[in-house]
Amino acid sequence: MSTIPTGRRIRLAAISSGGGHWVQLQRLRPAFSDCDVTFLTVKEGYRADVGDCEFRVIPDANRSNKFKLLRTALVVFWQLFRLRPDVVISTGAAPGYFGIRAGKLLGARTIWVDSVANVETLSMSGHRVRPYADLWLTQWPHLAGPEGPFHTGSVL
């Protein structure tokens, strides 16, 4: 996990797909105060939600289309390579998974907050992201375990 030089603001990349994942990411924003935040998501129309923060559009994908997944992975890796974030945080789904993988590869501190919609089991992205997430969270206490995922609260 990275060490962040003191004396400058933390560069944070916050990445998610659309709909509920995006709404949940927005609800975490007070945690990003004092950081230089770049949001990455799948719809230009969400730009209005982020105020003065940096904003990038990435192509959406889910596991039913492997070609689109690959395209999303490449764009996310490239965007994060250019951003060089200190921290990457995601609420899912597939674009967020690639964001955490890219962040880890680039030496960033990585945070996965599994969607509150996953009540009975973690999402597939949430399971697969485990080795790459320095902080691996579920929003449901009954899904938490001593080796993770951990629970510290929820967007509700």
């Binding site: 996990m1 060490t3 962040i4 933390i10 944070l12 659309g18 709909g19 509920g20 994942h21 995006w22 709404v23 949940q24 609800r27 975490l28 924003r29 007070p30 945690a31 990003f32 105060s33 004092d34 950081c35 719809k43 129309g45 969400y46 209005a48 939600d49 889910n62 596991r63 039913s64 921290v87 945080i89 501190r109 945070i111 907050v113 969607s115 509150v116 919609a117 996953n118 009540v119 009975e120 999402s123 597939m124 320095d134 902080l135 969270l137 929003q139 938490a144 993770g148 951990f150 629970h151 510290t152 609260g153 929820s154 967007v155 509700l156």
Partner: protein, 173 residues
């Protein structure tokens, strides 16, 4: 105005069809539906396949009642803006979703008193007849729980794991 929204990825004909037929029978005109990939073409409702986020927000804020799939974005928005919401979960077994998470979400949030749920078309139909009595649930604030925000903030700035306080942050003091 009733705002109906079913998300964007896969069709949700069961929900749109029941509301369309209900609108036809009751003569209700003040309904707008975002139907996504749904194949059923409503005859008694104004509808649109997709809405850009600003249009979505406008419809949402004008609505007196929301009828929706069990999507978390819609549910969180209904709780935050105190809109009465009636939900029918998409079913993976019927090809409406990739897994059954909406069913589980709907059950849990219903048990927690956060939403009203119709689990099938017959129940949806009954709930629509009672829609005027649907009340908003307890309002949520604009942000996640303070414990989650604090845990994330600490971790972002110090690397201290919120659930493993014994772990040393990976940097020199």
């Amino acid at each position: 105005m009733i705002f109906v929204t079913v998300g964007t990825d896969l069709p949700f004909d069961r929900l749109v069809k029941v509301i369309d037929e209900w609108a036809g029978e009751t003569g209700r005109k003040d309904i707008f539906a975002q139907i996504g990939e749904t194949e059923w073409r409503p005859r008694h409702l104004a509808y649109s396949k997709f809405l850009e986020p600003p249009e979505f927000v406008r419809n949402f804020s004008q609505a007196t009642t929301i009828v929706a799939h069990a999507g978390m974005g819609t549910i969180l928005s209904a709780l935050r803006y105190e809109k009465p919401i009636l939900v029918m979960p998409r079913r993976a077994s019927l090809g409406e979703q990739r897994n059954e998470h909406q069913l589980a979400t709907a059950k849990r949030l219903s048990d927690m008193g956060k939403i009203t749920v119709a689990f099938d078309e017959a129940e949806l139909r009954r709930c629509l007849d009672d829609l005027g009595r649907l009340q908003p649930r307890e309002k949520i604030g604009p942000h996640a729980s303070s414990s989650l925000v604090k845990g994330l903030k600490d971790f972002i700035h110090t690397g201290r794991h919120p659930a493993k306080p014994g772990d040393q942050p990976p940097f020199p003091a």
